[in-house]
């Protein structure tokens, strides 16, 4: 499974993940504080400039723009109808600025770096019983489980089809969930056997 990360050497790629994340949050907060469309447009332009600095591939840009475009169109239509064009413009500029910045963050940050940043960020909480070294294990196990469950889901669908019940939701969902829970039990036992206990 690959995320949205795109390798690169731009300044945006090199900022440590933790600081970059705080910057995105600060930008989102700023966007909500601003009410003037001109300033909001300026922030949007700055974020778009960030895409150029990071040299995001046109293909990825197009994909992100399409996703954002659909959302913005929908929101704009709704807001226009309910609140008028001026307010709709402000809301949409906010969405574009916040989401484009957030997506830029995701595109320029490696998942591994982010995981490391989370582990470091959690370190002060060790005394409260948080175990930062578990973060990696948790992520790995979950990804493995996604793969396992995708397979189970395909098998269950096949079985439902063989019984001529492909249109029945319970015929799919119930066996799928039973096997999901069983998988969870087995995994829990395996972890307990390795001394990782519950949780």
């Amino acid at each position: 499974m690959t995320g949205w990360y795109e390798p690169g050497t731009s300044p945006l790629h090199r900022i440590p993940a933790g600081w970059k994340f705080l910057a995105v949050l600060a930008l989102a907060a700023l966007v909500f504080a601003l009410r003037s469309p001109v300033w909001l447009g300026g922030v949007c332009a700055a974020v778009l400039l960030g895409y150029a600095v990071a040299r995001v591939t046109p293909r990825r840009c197009l994909q992100l723009a399409r996703m954002l475009g659909m959302l913005v169109l929908l929101v704009f239509a709704m807001q226009w109808w309910l609140l008028g064009a001026g307010q709709a413009l402000v809301v949409c500029l906010r969405i574009v600025a916040a989401l484009a910045a957030a997506n830029l963050f995701t595109v320029t940050t490696r998942v591994e770096d982010l995981v490391f940043a989370v582990e470091r960020g959690l370190r002060p909480f060790t005394r409260l019983g948080v175990r930062p070294d578990r973060v990696g294990l948790l992520i790995g196990l979950t990804l493995q489980a996604v793969a396992a469950l995708s397979m189970i889901s395909a098998e269950v669908r096949e079985a439902a089809k063989a019984r001529g019940a492909e249109r029945s939701i319970p015929a799919f969902a119930v066996p799928f969930l039973v096997r999901t829970l069983r998988h969870a039990d087995e995994l829990g036992e395996a972890l307990a056997a390795r001394g990782e206990g519950d949780g």
């Binding site: 995105v24 809301v91 996604v146 469950l149 995708s150 319970p170 969902a173 969930l177 039973v178 829970l181």
Partner: protein, 175 residues
């Protein structure tokens, strides 16, 4: 944890587009309700939180392959965060019941859905600066969500019959 993966797998199924409104009705938000009603409050909410954390880290697990912190900062971010409360509320109600039958599950999931809206609607209102408008907008999703509450409750009731004494409050299990 496996249940976090389960929610992820729910995201694989494409959204069902209703009419031409352009709003996909996704199966994924049935996941938190299922997690709450089957695993109980603590484990259910933790599964959902883990799922959301992985999404925020940039794994494309949300339906439509969405990933990163974008979906959380967007107008519907409140509904995502509300999933945690959703699972929590549904789980708490199920755990209170002696024998979780269909009526209990329906009530629990309806309350879970309401909890999600409780966070999601003000968030949207904060975005648009107009709470009533946000509430009106959210009404579009209500019929689909109510249908999901019913289906989830039916399925959960079947599962309680299939796995007696193994779910929610009754037994220790690894989420």
């Amino acid at each position: 944890m496996v249940f976090a993966a389960f929610i992820a797998v729910l995201g694989i199924f494409p959204g069902v587009y209703v009419g031409t409104s352009g709003i996909p009705i996704v199966l994924q938000n049935a996941g938190p309700l299922l997690a709450g009603s089957l695993l109980g409050a603590r484990r259910g909410a933790m599964s959902v939180a883990l799922f959301l954390a992985l999404t925020a880290l940039g794994l494309p697990l949300l339906s439509g392959g969405r990933a990163g912190i974008g979906p959380f900062l967007g107008p519907s971010g409140g509904f995502l965060l509300g999933w945690i409360l959703s699972a929590l509320v549904a789980g708490l109600i199920v755990a209170r019941a002696k024998r979780p039958g269909l009526p209990v599950l329906l009530a629990a999931n309806a309350a879970g859905l309401a909890a999600d809206y409780l966070i999601g609607v003000p968030w949207l209102g904060f975005y648009t600066g107009d709470l009533p408008a946000a509430a009106v907008q959210s009404l579009t999703f209500l019929p689909g969500d109510v249908a999901k509450v019913v289906v989830v409750s039916l399925i959960a009731a079947l599962l309680y019959r299939a796995l007696p004494g193994q779910l929610a409050g009754s037994a220790k299990r690894s989420a």
